[in-house]
Symmetry: C3
């Protein structure tokens, strides 16, 4: 059980608050956000303090932090805030939903947010700041690097490696022993049967798209398709 | 706990009986079906009464009803029987399997039948008379309208809306913020990345099929493909 | 609770040991493998005996066996060892993970290994020596024949039959009432909407591939794609 500060005042913090309240014993003590986005002093009856001075209110020796932000910028914003909190000396808490079956404890780094109904096979290693939404399968001997985002109903076969900041869209499938490159964007329902290059984009029914992943994500998010 | 009358004497009623017996405290007191289909007076040791006079045997003030029928006619038959039972004054019971994780109670209307192993994210609204078979994912802020049928291993991303009587085939995937029109038929394993028109048909590996959904379903069911 | 001998000294036996230790009350007493592969006398503190004389150490009247091998040769090796253990008089133990929801007991034969997070509908029959990795859906009235291998996130609609030694790759989908032939290989993320011929190969985005399934699997395994 940790005394916990949540980063943000938007949807991510709201989702984190509701999952942690229902499914953990953590004591959530407040929220923090960059002062320019701090549009309120209180949220759910708890203080909202400026990230610039969060350590004055909640010293890193006594409090932990959890940051759940969106994937915009191919997870660059999430990485930046993660790095900033580490630089302030915080230990970041990970959440792994309690509901799903595990033969052995799951190896996860800091600040992961791993939601319900996963199947995670044996000898899987999950880095720091990884988000996994619901109902994914992670096969044996798979490695997921820092800052990756795995949506829902994603299937990773055995021996897969997922690169840093990669984004795996809903219902996509990755074959045995494939290496997903750093910053790769895999679209919804795509099948990835061969290694992918860094920053590449892969969509269902298309050959590899000749566009850089961050630019593609920006366009898709502007259209609310991601 | 309700005293419950099940509609039907076929497979749907059988499935409902077995799920409810194993997974709820409801007291199933009998079955009812249109008199012309009433080929027996007893089922599983319980009376089978004519739907035309069900309220005489099981008055709506004391008994509830649950109707689990197939999706034929693009769910029109299910809607018709639902409306008829409501017109008789019944409250219709919903079943939501007990096994899967939920952070908060799930908002469902009447006469839903939601089976095992779902992942249903936050702020989802499910209407009346919705069937969800097993292992679906329903993303954040999704709305499912009355009389829809969602099969199994369906993935709905966030902010999806599913129209009335829509049918979503096994293993299909719907992208963020897509609106599935009323009476849309989505085939097995299809990806839906844009809004669909009412009564349209969408199949894996095809552009939209130029046929009306109810006619397509009739043909597929005649071939036992659905 | 059985006194149990595990076949093998490799990955399969390791996975079986870890699942059985964590999720069953069985008493694992030793390992056995063909003498030419017996590169050690002890594994996890337990004896490793030659399969040729296993019945001397662990008589079939007192001990059961469980064999978890890979799918090489389109499951022919697994079948061969299964048959050899039966010929020695062993009863083979099946493992079905404890975690997932079941309305009624699941009908499985001997030496099945059925892992976590499945949804298995009503009136399903599973033969002998069937492996199911994680998070599959098996629809109503489906039959899975002996020696089949179902990977993960596979969706079988209702009334499907899966032939002997068939291999169903990750994330594949099989439509209602389809018969998968003996020794059929279905690739990752493929949709199977019609019956398949024995020994045929079916890949996502391709028509049926004109190659025999066992040769195709050998090539894919050599490239570590399966």
């Amino acid at each position: 059980m940790s005394k916990l500060v949540l980063f943000g005042v938007g949807r991510g913090a709201d989702v984190a608050y509701r999952f942690l309240s229902a499914d953990t014993e953590h004591d959530i003590v407040g929220f923090t956000v960059d002062d320019k986005y701090r549009n309120r002093n209180e949220l759910r009856g708890l203080p909202v303090v400026a990230f610039e001075e969060v350590e004055r209110h909640f010293p890193p020796d006594d409090f932990r932090m959890l940051i759940l932000l969106g994937y915009q910028g191919m997870n660059a914003l999430r990485q930046q805030k993660y790095d900033a909190a580490k630089a302030k000396g915080y230990t970041l808490e990970s959440y792994v939903a309690s509901d799903f079956f595990r033969v052995e404890p799951i190896a996860v780094g800091e600040n992961c947010f791993i939601m319900d109904n996963q199947s995670i096979s044996l000898d899987v290693a999950i880095g720091n700041n990884v988000v996994m939404w619901s109902s994914n399968h992670v096969g044996d001997l798979t490695t997921i690097a820092d800052h990756a985002w795995i949506t829902s109903h994603v299937t990773l076969a055995a021996g897969v490696t997922v690169g840093e900041r990669a984004f795996l869209g809903i219902g996509c499938t990755v074959s045995n022993n494939v290496a997903i490159g750093d910053d790769t964007l895999v679209g919804a329902h795509a099948l990835i049967a061969a290694d992918t290059a860094p920053r590449s984009v892969h969509l269902h029914g298309h050959d590899t798209i000749d566009v850089e992943a961050r630019a593609f994500m920006r366009m898709m998010m502007a259209q609310k398709k991601l």
